[in-house]
Subunit: 253 residues, 8 copies
């Protein structure tokens, strides 16, 4: 940002820019009362703001979604309950609701960018909602998604049979609850960076995902980093940034 400030300062000095205009450039958000919608995020970070819907009312989600839809090709809302979606959909044309992933997606892109391919592995059937939140997010971010579901280590041959395909991905998201051992096993077999997502699936000493989280943070396999419990969105977002590292370099070289 200091770079832009320098440029703007020089432009004012040269009379090419008014002080008032320079100031407006810095603002970069729209104030709609209860919220300040970040309009510069796509510029700063390459993707528009995603709406985290938990703790927001239907009215608030509708208001923010509508505003973003007006100026973006894709808009994504996560953690949208079925109940809220039913109230929102009549007011949002061309928006798809995915009940398993709990996402609302508006997508007007003519073609997908195909930045790269993310493989999403999950250990068991109960981890599907988190895995699908990651899948929908990754798709919205322009990634190709390949799913490898129900490959937990209790029947490890199911994983080995897919290794060849798994190794064709650019980056992997591994979703697991209970003890989360899948991450360490995959980490010992591949060269891709792994984004580990602990889920709150389990009971007793699982402590709503803490068991899987600790497993992943302490993984004896290198090349693993971790996001918050049940945060499928966060893993997919990070995957998109990682794949884009490649893209960026094509531009700079």
């Amino acid at each position: 940002m200091s770079n832009e400030i320098k440029q703007w300062l020089s432009m004012i000095e040269r009379g090419e820019l008014k002080a008032e205009e320079a100031y407006d450039k810095l603002k970069g958000y729209e104030d709609i009362g209860f919220a300040k919608i970040d309009l510069h995020r796509e510029k700063r970070q390459g993707f528009p703001e995603v709406i985290y819907s938990e703790g927001k009312t239907v009215e608030q989600i509708l208001s923010i979604f509508t505003r973003l839809k007006a100026t973006n090709e894709t808009v994504l809302a996560t953690r949208v309950s079925k109940e809220k979606a039913d109230k929102l959909l009549p007011h949002l044309s061309d928006v798809q609701y995915d009940e398993c992933a709990r996402t609302l997606l508006f997508d007007e892109r003519s073609s997908h960018q195909g930045l790269g391919k993310v493989g999403i592995l999950c250990a068991g059937t109960s981890d599907l909602p988190v895995a699908e939140e990651a899948a929908v997010t990754a798709h919205a971010m322009g990634l190709e998604v390949q799913r490898f579901y129900d490959v937990g280590v209790a029947g490890i041959h199911r994983l080995f049979d897919q290794l060849e395909s798994i190794r064709t991905c650019d980056v992997l998201i591994v979703v697991a609850g209970m003890e989360g051992a899948l991450v360490s096993v995959v980490g010992g077999l591949v060269q891709q960076p792994i984004l580990a997502v602990p889920t709150s699936v389990g009971y007793g000493t699982n402590f709503q995902g803490v068991s899987a989280l600790l497993t992943m943070l302490n993984s004896c396999s290198s090349g693993v980093s971790v996001v918050n419990i049940d945060n499928g969105f966060g893993a997919a977002y990070q995957a998109a940034l990682i794949v884009r590292v490649k893209e960026n370099n094509h531009h700079t070289q």
Copy 2:
């Protein structure tokens, strides 16, 4: 025990036993001031009392060890620091100290019972002291011991290469620190009961073994039960009880 009481009561009734003698039969321990040494434990549980040395002074360990040595073929003390061992050994003839396992063992058995075979797996080099405590204990309890060390999941082929041998054991002890994923992987590949021992090896969110403990308690593989962190002794003791189930049945059938 109610059975024995019934017998004793009948014997008194028939004049075959004095009331005073019957009462003495129930006592079953020797009071040496600071401790009451359990002399019936071998009768009740099949193995003599093992001395847990942490928190005991050299004098206390010496006193108890000497007393047990007088009436048993094998005596085992665990958690004996090198420092304490150096002070104890001059006073304990025919006793071996194992520095890695931190055990003192007196063993006068002419031949080993060969109850069965326990396989001890450990994930990494740092888990050796706990694995060796299990190995020495298992040996003292009359088991054959086979070691499978450094077979952690970060290089899973090292484990697979040993599977054939591992499957020849009656019961398995799996020792692992960090995230403890080894347990789930082994649990998915074998039919033996697995006794999982979390170790305090690791740092940060390992929380002195809690990470590995939670992994093991939440293992997606069935056939796993868990003992306290670093409790190699406890796993081996349990392994001996398990193998003896077989022996007991030979007698009852």
Copy 3:
């Protein structure tokens, strides 16, 4: 597995096996979309896969149960709520629902194997659901089950009166909530391996079973290993593996 690979490799070398067929042998599961049903588990571990129903939809449970029922003599589903069972039963002939244990069991065995006998002790009336999950599972695994219920240490004579019977079992499962002290007391009185199951019964500092769990992990009695809170299934599964150690040896000797 490396052993089988060696055999298959030799067979191909000798022209007795096609490469393609060898590869198919390794697969061992059926992919039904949202899940990969493990068909080799009975071969690898001696019991068919058990369906853990929490977090699965009625449709998913039905689909997996039906698939397993087609090829197995016994099929077990645990953690099935009354609500789900009511929806499932009309579609599953010859299947019994146990409301207390929350299990669905399909059992076509002509005679039970009688591998051995497991004693299930529980401390209080509130621990019954967990104890019964263990009992149904043990029965499904081919064990004879003997129940010793409501023998908590607050009235310790109730336990002592049953000791004679308890000692006739091959292995014991001790289920207890609150402070879980029953495990240590039983552990000091018997020679059987004890599988301890903490339950989430209690309030306040019980912390949903953590109090009982810690008691069991720190038991001053040897011969105790522990499974996850409320995991009656896991204890019974482990008990079956333990009893089978004996069986295995009859074959190998």
Copy 4:
């Protein structure tokens, strides 16, 4: 206290007391710079202030001890390390140091009050320092002390053999580390109030005494209340208050 205020107010009204004197009556402590020594505590609570020495310098302990010794028949300091005691003893005549209990005791009472009898049970040898802190404190508070040491539940017959004696006590202090199950067992067998003292003896999931603490707070036996981990002093102090309830009533009836 409001009662005394009323009396003093009336006395001033009647001219029997000066306002200034009434105010001085409320002060009740001596300010020695770094501390305000509570001189009224014996009046308010029946025993002089006891010096908790952890975190205090040798100079501070000496200063407070000397001041209390000048005006009391008994003075007790707890948590005095051997190192500090060696520096203090030359300056404190007629004071005994107990290395196991880590206490300094000045005791000039011609005869002991014999308020009643406290039984102190402990589970294992490692719990002795805490049990002895309780014993020394109880003695200083005027109680008769009877010790029942090393009666842990792993060899429960050692406890049963002492039950007759245990039942002659007025109140019991039960000291236990590891899983602390002794408390529940004793609680189910006697009618005395039990003060449970968890100790930090153990390792791994003992969490420095938390395991024993939770056991005791969740005891299925009624009639148990608990003090802080390793707080032998607190249990003995409470025991003295309990026994004195009887004494107080003799006066009031």
Copy 5:
């Protein structure tokens, strides 16, 4: 108990008792299928078994209550929800339900024993249910109860005004949620033993009563012991044992 065994043994020896009869004496409970009702508890501990109703079905409570009512003058059930009480009351004549305390009490005593007086203090209005559970229990145990409610330290003059009355009690129960500081303040002002009951009243870092529990365990005032969070029953039971210490002594002297 060893004492009784000795007597019985001698009686058999002298032909005064049959072996079979002696054995029956040890049993002391009635087995009603899902539970073993402890009939000796009143002999062993001086009060009949109290029914803890959480986790029990209406049928189970009714069955146990009816059985105990047949042979006891007072029967108490705690943690009985309004819903369960409505179903139970039509089947239980002469039983009172207290909605605030959530207790069912059957009380046929002609006169109350008046063992002594317990003072029950509570910090705020939200602590009433726990305080009332203590009050009803103490009354059922034969104690006189005096209530000092809403005397929290935020308005400490309310407490001071009652000190005179508080000091007339034999033992005090102090019930407090949030930070539980009331215990330390009362502990510094009185000579009675204090039984502290943390409640789960509060929010955020109260952690369902853990904050108050820790305060009470760490109280800088001596003479405080603690029971489980929300355990009003346990404190009252302990209070009754404490007051009875006095009674016992009258008999033995």
Copy 6:
């Protein structure tokens, strides 16, 4: 208070005050059965008692509110659910309910005191209820309130744009959930004392606000102190005390 006691004592001595009257002065509360309403709080602390409504019944809230309303210009109740408010409002004239803040406010002040200005910042839309509880409380305490909402660090320019206004406040309340980083950033940019309020907004490792709480307690920026999770009321109350420091000094100088 000792000062007032001295004055009253002197007045009695001089015959200017009756002992009985002096005693009444100390009482300072009204006993309405289940509660003792603190009437002196406004004298002791400058604001009337505020009604914390969680855990209180509608009847209890109504009774206390009515009593306070009779003698105060402003009465505030916090944590009033919509459900309770609907039942209370018909009985409380001139009282406003704020659904977002969950407060009931009675306010008869002719003019506001304008003690000073508090700025309330919050990180995201989901933190609004806590921020509004603070805002309503601060207003009731006589402060001018300025809101800076949705200024979380993920779009830090939104914060920077408001810095000029933020710096005109006397004291700041910063409300944030999730990771609570806003506090450290603001703390590094302003000279005002900051009262940090962690909220329970978030999921997974947020642990109902613990994550934000720890962030705030460990803030690398100086000038931050913290209140309980979701305690908007507490922060506003503290803000009012802080601003009044200025007022107090005007009087004393």
Copy 7:
């Protein structure tokens, strides 16, 4: 800051400022290799940067201290061990080391500002180091300090006797370990804002200060905010900001 940017932008527009100079204005720190010393902090926050010495080498502390000493009238370093201080003092002229507070202070102010008065209360002798860290810091920040030490609630009259003096302070810092109840008691008696500092003094369930921390966060008294465990510096810094609110207002009115 946006305000200053606006001004600078206008100045450049008017040719009064060069773009390069404007940019330099934003830098505000000196880079000394391993650290960037914040030179603008006094401008931004009113006090120079304070050196937190834990985890810094003697060389690093010396380098930063020397740099700050060159341009400030007062420089403060906290958490300086005796060992480090002995090495530092020969190189730092006119600097005082306080062994109890563990602070190094350089103070060249001709007269103290006397911003206002802070009262520092502590519960016991062991809390002195934290209280003194607060006292030295407050003095360095220009506050008058009054100490009220050893006024814990176990002897509450010691506190009441000082209330008159305590009430003359502008703001209070209450330092307490163990259960920290002092904060709630003081909070119920005074009108000053209270900054509560939990200390790690205690043992067992004190959990290195967590017990006192929770007490303070859950205080039933209003007007309390809390800083990190043992953070005497942080409380004093906040106290200075609070007192300065008064000063600021004098300027703005």
Copy 8:
């Protein structure tokens, strides 16, 4: 791997490979007694095994390092204490020890690969050892490293001044202790994937890094993933994998 198995199977079928040779290909490690050195890791994961030295003896480190040095161009050992390094260096020629990073590095590469550039930010001076462990590791993995140290949010302008340079990196590692807020601030300003490393720097409620860890897992900024506390190595390893994603694609396209 299944791919390679298929190939080998076909080769045997075609007589191009002996069964015995095929089996040897799968082994891939050297057994040196206490450890099995993973020789295939470079093939499987692209970098040779790194030696984690904590919990290993000097002899074990030397043995493994020497073995790896014989067959690799670069060998890295982390967590090597100064004490161990002094004993190891005489036996390891051409190896550099970095005392701050606690690493031993053998590096015989003629030129560095320059895979890409990693920016390493750290919040304060105390975080240097972790940051340097990351820097040395990243260098050994073939990355260009740029350091941005001491840019914590308490003086946020120090960070802003470096933003232009920071944005030229491919991936960022952000190292922070205390409350770890730096991660969220950076995450809101850049487009690079951020690997967050919490450090154990802090005291009190920092809980040895848990505070920073939770902040990072709950970051409101997207594009952040987290590694274990103090795991500088893990972050650098992950950074290398991320940058290599780009490389991989060059080959596949």
